[in-house]
Amino acid sequence: MTGRPWYEEAPLPDLLRAARDAYRDAVVRALAEAGCDDVPRNGALVIAALGRDTSKLSFSPQADVVASLGLSKQAASQLIDTLVLRTYLERRVDPEDRRRMGVRLTSRGRTAADAILGAVDAVEFSLAKLITADQLLGLRAGLAAFKEVSVGHD
């Protein structure tokens, strides 16, 4: 026994997975409670990104909405197709550039977005009660460093 906290020895990938699961479980539960239990894999990320956008009535370029997901063009297109089919998104041809598509949330999509963002807030509210502000800043700095490492490996 070293007396050190268990998380100082645990592999970082295990800690990251468990932390991600806290968000995933909260989002899955909130979506089910809101009657939105058919959101596809990665769909919550698209819906949340559009839900954070303050100009909710305007269409966002489809390519921008899926850019951060790291999906192939075909997989991204299939994801948007599914979200449109399940009535979370509305899609139209960009009137200013007919080669581009725009998407925005439907009423059901806004319901889902509110559920997702509320679940994320609830996780962060719980977290803020369990660790110090300094630890929270450290967590964010560490995750940002992870993101930079990830970008460096692309």
């Binding site: 990938p13 800690l15 909260a26 509320g118 719980s126 977290l127 369990l130 450290g138 460096g152």
Partner: protein
């Protein structure tokens, strides 16, 4: 190309080690400790949650 199970595990372990080393280069020991603590607490958050 498909890797044999042993080769795959070695490749994954090598990648994890490289990421850990890169993280140690970018963060101080205290920052890594805060990252570990935060991730551990996040991972132990159970549902249902209290709303803010």
């Amino acid at each position: 190309m498909r890797l044999a199970r042993g080769s795959y595990k070695r490749a994954v372990d090598a990648h994890y080690t490289a990421v850990d080393k890169e993280l140690e280069r970018r963060l101080t020991a205290a920052e890594i400790a805060r990252l570990r603590r935060g991730l551990a607490v996040l991972g132990e958050i159970k549902q249902p949650l209290e709303k803010p």
